[in-house]
């Protein structure tokens, strides 16, 4: 209860309390529209320099109710509407206002909207200290924040969206150290880089993963997505797989989410929604990071023989992606200037010519031995394939992102 009201007689205070409770009940019924109307009037008054008798959240809500019930009466009562040119904006367009709207957008995005609830809760505690009912105060403050968000969306859309993008970017950046809690490993300098065919194959594998994720989502929800939805899912999976070469599930997931959203919009004839893409990127980053950590833990926990098998399987896949064939049969010695090496695999080109002499490695600790280094230096077709925990993590992260239940493209 404010000081102004305390100075009145008990009878008047009682009437005011009754009136306030009735007004607040009305506003809760009227909901957000009242909040928006109140903020609109507030903004108008702020621009014109007029005073407005609504210094607390409750009084703003009361004003909103009055505006909605009797807008002419309200305008002639508490707010003196000056004669303004119709083309003049009804809100503060100053840089400060834009920045604040952007900051609120960033906070919303970074906290997945939880920041509004935290702020509302803190303000409600202050309201409760001033005599308001805590439950009502919390509800009022939350509705105020939602109305503020709606106001920002309407009048500071670009600033808010920019802030949200920044907030999502910060979210994704913060996930990096989290994913990195499990060391992903560094590639040895002798490891053979992917050739163009392998990169293409990787994108194709990602696209397949995206399609599978979309199909799984459709099956789970009992619906059929459009061809455009599947195209978007494939594009997202492909981009996610290519970004996943960095070995970070969060980046793979973020890229997959954003690409899927944007391409689905375009392929379905919708205007691409930056907000949906941003949200999808944030969700994808979180899922990707979780999958990334899980994949790294899985890789670390494998037995030595399982790691050996995993490394050799990756080598076979790389050979196939290169268009070659892995030679079957037992390993054979490869003579060197001094001693010999026994490569893990040998490949054959499509024309039957000898392909690569392949050494498969798995794990952070894997390096070339001295004899392997001799092979690396002496044999021009010596290929070193090194699979790291971060590779497994990125793959798991992309799988998590493509198979999440966030695939609910808006229906036209």
């Amino acid at each position: 209860m404010t000081d102004r009201r305390k100075t009145k007689s008990a009878g008047v205070i009682g009437d005011i309390d009754t009136w306030m409770r009735a007004r607040q009940a009305e506003v809760r019924r009227l909901g957000r529209d009242a909040e928006a109307a109140a903020h609109e009037a507030w903004g108008r008054a702020a621009r014109t320099g007029q005073s407005i008798a609504a210094s607390t959240s409750s009084e703003v809500k009361q004003l909103g109710a009055k505006l909605m019930q009797a807008p002419k009466a309200a305008n002639s009562g508490q707010v003196k509407r000056p004669a303004v040119a119709p083309e003049k904006p009804a809100h503060d367009r100053s840089a400060r206002a834009q920045i604040l709207a952007g900051a609120r957008g960033a906070q919303d995005a970074f906290t997945f909207g939880a920041g509004d609830y935290i702020y509302a809760g803190a303000r409600a505690l202050g309201d409760a200290a001033n005599g308001e009912n805590i439950a009502d105060a919390i509800e009022d403050r939350i509705e105020t924040e939602r109305a503020r968000d709606a106001f920002d969306r309407k009048y500071y859309g670009s600033a808010r969206t920019t802030g949200q993008v920044v907030g999502t970017g910060a979210q994704i950046a913060l996930l990096g150290p989290a994913e990195g809690l499990i060391a992903g490993g560094a590639r040895i300098p002798q490891a053979t880089r992917l050739i163009a065919r392998e990169v293409s194959a990787l994108g194709g594998a990602g696209a397949t993963l995206g399609l599978a994720g979309q199909a799984a989502s459709d099956r789970a929800e009992g619906r059929f997505s459009s061809a455009g939805d599947y195209l978007g899912a494939a594009a997202g999976g492909a981009v996610g797989a290519l970004v996943g070469r960095r070995g970070e599930g969060r980046l793979a997931g973020a890229a997959e989410g954003a690409t899927t959203s944007l391409v689905q919009d375009l392929a379905n004839g919708r205007a691409p929604s930056l907000d949906r893409a941003r949200t999808a990127a944030g969700d994808g980053a979180v899922l990707g990071a979780m999958g990334g950590v899980a994949g790294r833990v899985l890789a670390d926990g494998m037995t030595m023989s399982a790691k050996e098998a995993a490394g050799e399987t990756v080598s076979r896949l790389r050979t196939a992606a290169r268009g070659d064939r892995t030679l079957a049969g037992p390993k054979t010695r490869q003579k060197l200037k001094t001693g010999y090496t026994v490569p893990d695999q040998r490949s054959v080109r499509p024309n039957g010519e000898p392909g690569d002499i392949i050494e498969s490695k798995f794990g952070r600790s894997s390096k070339l031995s001295h004899r392997q280094t001799q092979a690396f230096e002496q044999l021009p077709n010596y290929r070193v394939d090194q699979t790291l925990p971060r590779d497994i993590g990125a793959a798991a992260g992309l799988m998590a992102s493509t198979h999440s239940d966030r695939r609910n493209p808006p229906r036209p």
Binding site: I188, P189, Q190, M304, S305, K307, E308, G311, E312, T313, R316, L317, A320, R325, T326, A328, P330, K331, T332, R333, Q334, K335, T338, G339, Y340, T341, V342, P343, D344, Q345, E359, S360, K361, F362, G363, S365, S366, K367, L368, S369, H370, R371, Q372, T373, A375
Partner: protein, 193 residues
């Protein structure tokens, strides 16, 4: 090369070593590391019998103390695909005399127990110098292997012309030779054909 193997050297004639380990000869040639035969045997002119296994953990499962009743037992295990782990140890008179281990882990680069033979310090210092000059290669990986060679004259990847013969555990079934056949795409992709 892709090694994940182990071997034991016993300073005793081959027949007695195979008897103690309960192995029988097959008469088939074998190439250590090729995975063509799970176990193989060769004799070194210095009087050592080498029993080679394609199983990295095998040497840790044999009763080296009991085997040392025939003569000195030198065990060695090595892999260069995951942790770059190598180890060599000597058992004499039922007791482990020394053990040298390496992994590509800052805390386990060189782990020594007991009193390795004299070439150890020279080998270790030389490899440490090489390691400091070029950390992109795991030179210390060779330390147990070179030490084992200094003791018994055998290092598996030296081209010394040593001929191995496949052996099998006495109670293991004889594996029938399978006719070569072409598999489908997945079978060839995963090396099954």
């Amino acid at each position: 090369m892709g090694w994940m193997c182990s071997w034991v050297g016993v300073r005793a004639p081959q027949a007695g070593v195979l008897e103690a380990l309960d192995f029988v000869r097959t008469g088939e040639p074998a190439q250590p590391g090729s995975r063509g035969a799970r176990f193989s045997v060769a004799e070194i002119p210095d009087g050592w019998t080498i029993v080679f296994s394609e199983d990295f953990e095998w040497v840790g499962r044999i009763d080296a103390a009991a085997l040392s009743a025939l003569g000195d037992v030198l065990g060695c295990k090595f892999e260069d695909k995951v942790d770059m782990a190598t180890a060599a140890f000597l058992v004499r008179g039922g007791r482990e005399i020394w053990r040298v281990e390496h992994e590509n882990d800052p805390d386990r680069l060189v782990v020594v127990r007991g009193d390795p033979p004299p070439p150890f310090e020279t080998l270790r210092d030389a490899l440490l110098r090489q390691q400091e000059e070029d950390d992109d290669v795991d030179y210390l990986h060779d330390l147990p292997l070179d030490l084992a060679k200094a003791v018994c004259g055998f290092r598996v990847d030296d081209d010394d012309g040593l001929e191995f013969e496949a052996v099998r555990p006495r109670n293991a079934p004889v594996e029938a030779a399978a006719a070569a056949k072409k598999g489908g795409f997945l079978a060839r992709l995963f090396g099954k054909a």
